[in-house]
């Protein structure tokens, strides 16, 4: 099998397509097993503790028909995406600025690390006090959650840049802006995408947890509301919707990553 697999990978696309089919089939099999296990859990534990998959599916369809699904997803996405965007811009720009001044960088670093230790969710009551119960407190939590991940991966990426490439560019007449854009940014892209992938589910989770606390809509609000009225099916439906949301966003990031890092000699099947 390994021999055949290796040869297949080297020779042509036809066996590669066949292998892809095997992978897809394997994934489907796992999904079926998961749903079966889920069904088994629901039957043994009872529907109060464990909602049955069919009930959950029916609920999602109902939510979709009534328009509530779209409204909740839109609300959650709006907060996640905005927080995510702010965090990415800040998390990338700050390391670039700190790089320009090693002294400021050393002075500031312990404070950034210390502030990272603040439990973000614990800020919620205080944030509500400040910003009320609109999107803003959730936005702050999401932004903070994502910011540190992007900040740390970007900083690591900047440290990992091959200094010889920078020296080459300087000799060739590149200014600092060109070096930042053409050398440092390009070579830290793999780090950045790793950060994105770690941060994305967290951004959605943080939004949902935020919605537990303060919200009138959103996936998190729906889960919390269902919990309050002891609607297990609703809780499960909300969780499934959240998972699908994360998977969908991840798929989009994968597409962008594949385009941005097309130059890399990485085997396609190795992608996460």
């Amino acid at each position: 099998m390994t021999d055949a697999g290796l040869t297949a990978a080297m020779v042509s696309d036809a066996p590669a397509a066949a292998r892809k089919r095997v992978v897809v089939a394997g994934r489907l099999l796992l999904a079926v097993l998961l749903v079966l296990g889920w069904e088994l859990g629901a039957r043994t534990l009872g529907s109060v503790f464990f909602a049955a998959p069919l009930d959950v599916a029916a609920r999602i369809v109902t939510l979709a028909r009534s328009g509530q699904l779209a409204a909740d997803v839109a609300s959650t996405l709006r907060v996640s995406a905005l927080g995510f965007a702010i965090a990415c811009v800040a998390g990338v720009l700050l390391p670039f600025l700190l790089r320009r001044s090693p002294r400021v960088s050393t002075a500031v670093e312990p404070y950034i690390m210390a502030s990272m230790g603040i439990p973000k969710y614990a800020l919620a009551p205080w944030l509500i006090l400040w910003f009320g119960i609109g999107d803003l407190p959730k936005l702050v939590v999401v932004t903070l959650m994502v910011f540190y991940i992007i900040f740390i991966t970007t900083t690591a990426g900047i440290r990992a840049v091959d200094q010889r490439l920078i020296a080459m560019a300087r000799v060739a007449g590149a200014g600092e802006t060109a070096i930042a854009r053409e050398i440092i940014w390009k070579s830290l892209l793999p780090f950045f995408f790793t950060g994105l992938k770690v941060a994305l589910p967290r951004a959605v989770s943080a939004t949902i947890v935020g919605e537990f606390l303060v919200a009138t809509e959103g996936v998190g609000h729906y889960i919390e509301y269902s919990r309050q009225v002891a609607d297990t099916v609703g809780v499960f439906a909300g969780i499934v919707i959240a998972i699908v949301l994360v998977l969908a966003i991840n798929a989009v990031v994968n597409v962008i990553e594949r385009r941005a890092l097309a130059w890399r000699p990485v085997e396609r099947e190795m992608e996460l």
Partner: protein
């Protein structure tokens, strides 16, 4: 030789500064002086660890000198302070390093055009010139390949023409062909001589290979060990154009080779 002096190195010295309770290093390079004329092909031969790369880094202004000065076209540059360095001397000194330092995310042609692009000189004319160079070194058809898809020799060629493409009057070369096999190296040397013949740039070419130094240079300097100084200087009386493959057979080769060898020992 008889050409006017373009670049002069005066009493250059290098020692690495004290750090973390470590004493400053002894002088790695000390009191090193030489000059290069316009259009001259100067080779510098030194054993490994003789500070050859350090010397070129100082001339390229990406490393500080601890003593001495560099005079370019009558302009004296004090490069003792890292903040005063002017890497590449405002695009007048190109540097082909030992590693090809190609940008892995750029294709061959985009790597070759990189200096021109960051200098803001990208236009139809500069693109056409780069194209000519790509063809001249046999990289036509590989313009859209990424560095990891090229052979070692192709990468060396790409790195070489990247520097030639933006046309700096002086080019430093740090054992650029050391990491390739003997046959490819001979081909690369021949290519380099052809390209040099077209533009007659000033080249300072550092190598540990005596044959290479003789095959390429108008003049060869021999470096001493620890601290590095100029131990000897030899004019290379072999007429051009030279056939690199048969350089051993050419008149004058054996004599120069013997003299340089005895200098090194």
């Amino acid at each position: 030789m008889s050409d006017p002096t373009l670049l002069e190195i005066r009493n250059l010295g290098k020692r690495f500064p004290a750090r973390h309770g470590r004493e400053p290093s002894p002088w790695v390079i000390q009191d090193l002086s030489f000059s290069v004329g316009t259009g001259e092909f100067l080779t510098i031969i030194g054993p490994s660890g003789a500070g050859k790369s350090t010397l070129l880094n100082m001339i390229a202004q990406i490393d500080t000198a601890s003593a001495g000065e560099i005079v370019f076209n009558g302009e004296t540059v004090n490069s003792h302070d890292a903040r005063m360095l002017r890497p590449g001397f405002d695009r007048r000194i190109g540097y082909v390093t030992q590693d090809d330092n190609l940008l892995p995310w750029r294709t061959t042609i985009d790597n070759v055009l990189f200096p021109i692009e960051v200098q803001g000189r990208l236009n139809d004319e500069t693109r056409a010139q780069a194209d000519v160079l790509v063809r001249a070194v046999g990289l036509a058809g590989f313009e859209r390949y990424y560095p990891h898809e090229l052979s070692g020799g192709m990468r060396k060629r790409a790195a070489l023409i990247r520097t030639l493409a933006y046309d700096p009057p002086v080019i430093l070369m740090d054992e650029p062909f050391a990491a390739v096999d003997a046959q490819t190296r001979t081909q690369l040397q021949a290519d380099l001589l052809t390209l040099w013949g077209l533009g007659r740039k000033t080249i300072i070419f550092v190598t540990h290979d005596i044959t290479e130094a003789i095959a390429l240079g108008d003049r060869a300097l021999v470096l001493s060990r620890q601290p590095t100084r100029i131990a000897a200087e030899h004019a290379i009386p072999i007429p051009r154009p030279r056939n690199v493959q048969d350089i051993f057979a050419l008149e004058g080769f054996a004599a120069v080779y013997q003299r340089i060898r005895s200098d090194i020992q």
